[in-house]
Symmetry: C2
Subunit: 270 residues, 2 copies
């Protein structure tokens, strides 16, 4: 029986399930920002069971960069509490595969890399609190400039656990001081997606020499009346993987997240 | 019958009523910081009934600098909801008396200035949130340095109401950035005592040229790794009185507050 070719019109990218299916079938390949508006997107780190036990302790010890939304059962490709019919191997537009701390592949799926002992960590992402900031009327510069949020490796050590250790990565959003204060209030309500900022106003104090040269993402305009506001970033696990060199690991490619059925608004603790 | 001379040992300065009695009888004459620990202290503005109606609208329009804890009945020297046996004429160590916007007297009581048409506004004071900050382990520099908090007249206009208009006055506390973020969280819980900061990190943006030269209070040390954090200040009414020139007004002398029976902890909204 002939099967008609899939088209992107067949999927409703405004729903999380539709977005995952479109990604799975190769009809959405870029960053996930803007997909399934209102739905929680997550950072991903997938490790063999043995390393996963230590990584779980690492996340618990570092809740600001690594707030856990869900941990999968070993070998399971589904995470039912995050979304129906979700497949960890195919539903992220681009992955990174790591061996001994080096990125060895950046594939569109990890079907050929999958193993039965893998455990997935889905970690909260700043997209969730950005939606609350924008609803409040606060401009998010990298959204305005249609690029990726600038991310910087700091000189701040994460709390080590087992083999896992490394520097904190932060994302940065420039704001006028009154919006910076308001953004502390708003993001404090979202501890599961990095919560309140970790630093403000003085990049030099955390080892950032030049805001114009982020380690990941893109540089954004900072106006004369603005100060940089820094949040712990879900890309921190990738910095930790580079430092800690587990034998095998899969992560998402920065900006290319797993789209879940959770609602951003539901993550607010108040 | 002979009456023994009053001595400061006769009063328990650790209780709000004891502190008010000691002040009333001239046994405590200086700043009120540290008296009746845990009790709410208030800024004071007292106006004739006619001006008071407009000033009430001014406070409602400017809740950050002028959060109202209580308004007295015209002519009453008591404010029962703030404290038992409280006398507005005697229970503040030092007052300021204003005529046509000029300070004409700084007496230890206002018994001779009192009028039957006066209405008192008791306005929240930052001492209340400072106690929450210190409990959190955040150092308050002017407390460490045993001086008055530095206050600055900004270039920010308050919202005018009737004859009342003028610039916002802010108090400043220097902090490392992480404490500045934490202090936004803590003080956000205390909207009745100025709430969250109004500005952070960049004094130049609000018309403050030199942090070393405050308009009221004392300069404090600002370390290399610290940023200034600015809160709306209950001395704003005095700046407004200078600008708006009501015919008659009584205020507290900065740092010399009215001690109430309310508990600081009880002002927290969360």
């Amino acid at each position: 029986m002939a099967v008609a070719a899939l088209r992107s019109e067949d999927y409703d990218l405004a729903t999380p399930h539709g977005a995952r299916l479109a990604i799975r079938h190769g009809l959405h390949t870029g960053p996930t920002a803007g997909l399934a508006n209102g739905s929680v997107q997550g950072n991903l780190a997938i490790l063999p069971k043995e390393e996963a036990e230590e990584f779980l302790r690492f996340c618990v010890a570092n809740p600001k960069p690594c707030p856990i939304l869900a941990v999968s059962e070993p070998g399971d490709v589904a995470v039912p509490q995050l979304g129906r019919d979700l497949d960890l191997r195919t539903d992220v537009p681009r992955y990174r595969v790591w061996q001994d701390g080096e990125c060895v592949d950046e594939p569109a799926d990890v079907l050929s890399w999958w193993r039965d002992d893998l455990v997935a960590f889905v970690i909260g992402c700043s997209y969730s609190f950005e939606s609350a900031l924008r609803e409040d009327g606060i401009e998010i510069r990298h959204v305005t400039e249609n690029c990726a949020v600038p991310m910087y490796r700091t000189n701040i050590d994460t709390t080590p656990a087992g083999r896992f250790h490394g520097k904190l990565v932060v994302s940065m959003r420039p704001m006028v001081p009154a919006d910076a204060i308001r953004s502390v209030q708003i993001t404090s309500r979202f501890p599961n997606v990095h919560g309140a900022p970790v630093h403000i106003a003085r990049p030099d104090l955390i080892g950032i020499a030049d805001l114009g040269r982020p380690d990941e993402g893109d540089a954004v305009t900072i106006r004369d009346d603005e100060i940089p506001v820094f949040w712990a970033c879900g890309v921190t696990p990738q910095s930790v993987i580079r430092s800690s060199r587990p034998r095998f690991c899969i992560t998402h490619f920065p900006g290319s997240m797993i789209v879940t059925d959770l609602r951003n608004a539901r993550l607010s603790v108040l």
